[in-house]
């Protein structure tokens, strides 16, 4: 570790030389995404609105057994961060393999690829947040002082997504099943996260194999995305301060994921050139 720390620093400083490449790749991703569509970047706004419509019809009208006021806003607070997370993660996982042509022929710090994928999705997410704010206006939900925590919550989510992305992108270079398995896991993850439902509808306690389990706590402890969604909700939808213990735990978890994921990535990235 003593020898790897200075090398770690050198890597980070090299990475900073390539900030222009990162921004160029982000711009490329966005340009390519909208190049051949009529609505262009408006899709970043239309897409969440359509999703909100579908979920509101299904869970607000057809299956309306949960009484959540201002359901569209409640839903958007969950589904927008989730979309950001799942598209950024799937993109990051594929980023090395999809750019194999480049990785095999040119040297640059490989971490540039997952980073730029996550950042391109971040831009998309920020655009989509406009829809959320518009809906808050329509439903007359006031913005409170706690909304200033929004950038911090977003930052924590980026850190967590990057950490997991680094780890899985590396794995995907060596085992291509990673991305296939992650598709299924992301679907399960979506349902296990209180996105379109309130965590209150889950039983508070359940005895499994003689152990009394606090389901509400477990959902948040085992699932950083659930904690993040709860944070978005509390500062925007409820307009209250977040529960600080959860908040800091999520932050620490995310940083640990990022450091571990990045070390794992840099440990194996020199081999990408001949493995992809």
């Amino acid at each position: 570790m003593a020898t790897s720390l200075p090398r770690f620093g050198a890597r980070l400083s090299e990475l900073s030389h390539y900030h222009e490449l990162i921004s160029n790749l982000v711009v490329r991703d966005l340009k390519v995404r909208y190049k051949n569509s009529v609505l262009g970047f408006l899709w970043s706004l239309v897409n969440p609105m359509l999703m909100m419509l579908v979920f509101t019809i299904v869970f607000g009208i057809m299956l309306s057994n949960q009484d959540i006021p201002n359901y569209p806003v409640f839903l958007l607070c969950g589904i927008l961060p989730w979309n950001f997370f799942s598209t950024a993660l799937s993109g990051a996982i594929q980023s090395i393999v999809n750019n194999a042509q480049l990785v095999k022929k040119v040297y640059f710090p490989r971490e540039v690829l997952p980073i730029s994928t996550v950042l391109a999705n971040l831009v998309n997410f920020l655009l989509a947040l406009l829809v959320l704010f518009a809906m808050m206006l329509i439903f007359r939900i006031p913005l409170t002082i706690w909304a200033i925590l929004l950038p911090v919550v977003i930052l924590i989510q980026v850190i967590f997504t990057l950490g997991l992305g680094f780890f899985l992108a590396t794995l995907n270079v060596f085992y291509r099943d990673t991305s296939v398995i992650m598709e299924v896991l992301l679907l399960a993850w979506f349902f296990l996260t209180p996105i379109f439902y309130n965590v209150d509808i889950l039983p508070a306690h359940r005895v499994v194999l003689g152990i009394d389990m606090d389901i509400h706590r477990l959902v948040y402890i085992l699932n950083p995305i659930a904690s993040l969604v709860a944070s978005y909700r509390v500062i925007l939808y409820t307009g209250a301060p977040p529960a600080w213990d959860f908040f800091s735990r999520t932050l620490i978890t995310s940083v640990v994921f990022l450091v571990a994921g990045y070390l794992f990535f840099t440990r194996f990235s020199p081999m990408f050139g001949e493995e992809v």
């Binding site: 490449l21 490329r28 340009k31 040297y107 050139g273």
Partner: protein, 457 residues
Amino acid sequence: MTVSHVGASKGSPIIEFDTVSKRYLLQPGRPRSFQELLVSAFRSSPPTKEQDLHDLEREFWALRNVSFSIQPGETIGLIGANGSGKSTILKLIARIVQPTSGIIGVHGRVSALLELGAGFHPDLTGRENIFLNGSILGLSRTEMRRHLAEIVDFAELERFIDMPVKHYSSGMYMRLGFAIAIHTQPDILLVDEVLAVGDESFQIRCLDAIRRLKARNKTILIVSHSLKQLTDLCDRGIWLEGSQVQELGPMAGVVRRYLGSVADEQAQYLLEENAHTAEELAEQNSTTVGGQSETLAPEVSEPAPRRWGRGPITIEHVQMYADDPATRRGIATWSFRPMQPVTIEIAYQCKSAVVEPIFSLLIHKMDGHYLWASNTLDHPIEPIPGPGRGTLRVEVAGLALTAGRYYLSAAVYPEPDPPFWRTPSDFHEWLYEFQVISPTEVHGDIVMPGRWEHHPL
């Protein structure tokens, strides 16, 4: 296992390989999917000796204990058979692959022409791709903006620069890739076979651009099959053989000895081949109509310069001369005008008397198309009386070729060997290149001087 990339210090080598080895696993023994991983976990018996042996067969040492150092400003040519490790050296310098053991020091910014246009996005325009590619090579937007005009100009894409590159022809694509790489101010330029792309005029300009970089004291490493090109461009050569450095020295000498060894190998191969081709030949003869058949004697083959053959006569030297009408003396050159009178000279050495020596000269286009030949079977010469040297001169009244680049091959046979001519004593195949320059005679393959007359009524 270290690759260091730090700033250069004066007087020290810019590239250093210290006992570098690189091993590739041909069919990696490790599981490639989770399924295989699971299966291998249950099959936990220790690998048997047979399996170990199997694993050894699967690995391939692209380089073994290779050491050399290159000074700033040198131009180095890498030669060797396919799979001898040339490209691996370039990939190691470019940091695309890691050495299995040994130390590599590279002190400067590397621009690698391993594949032209790697990293272009088809949906982006040429201009957008210039900036993207520049930043992949580590240049800032402002630096790229400074070179934008030169790049566009060099690639001859003024009218197409705002068009998505997916609409480009492959030639345009390559030109843009080359233009970007060469204008990114590298300290070290790595060129892998890419000089063989594009039309001939672009190739000439690529070579000029490389010469300009060379004049600016940049370090250049070139892998090319054109030995002529390498001899022209490079100061020193590295000859790789069996994953090791066979020779490192002045380019011309390395090329000469490399060709010599290729000829020896070829002779050995022919000797073995001849032992059992007699029957086949007879069979082939019966299937051949008029001495030529499409399968046996393809008109177009892939140009690959090589020297081969075995016998008493060897060709020492081949030179073309442009006949200067003023002095009535030839000037040694490889550059001509259409219909210019030309003399081609062959210098030979002979170990014994040869009754009916057959010398032959052939001209091919760069794409391998067979254009012309003349030989001493059709134009007989006197026998060679005994051991010694001599020269042959062929006077060509007019070089009836359009503008472009051509290969000249020379061969000598100890006796007539129709129809296949498989037993040359010495064959310099595709070894010489010459060009014909003309602003007007550019269409088709041959020149038949014509005069236009116009009679309006």
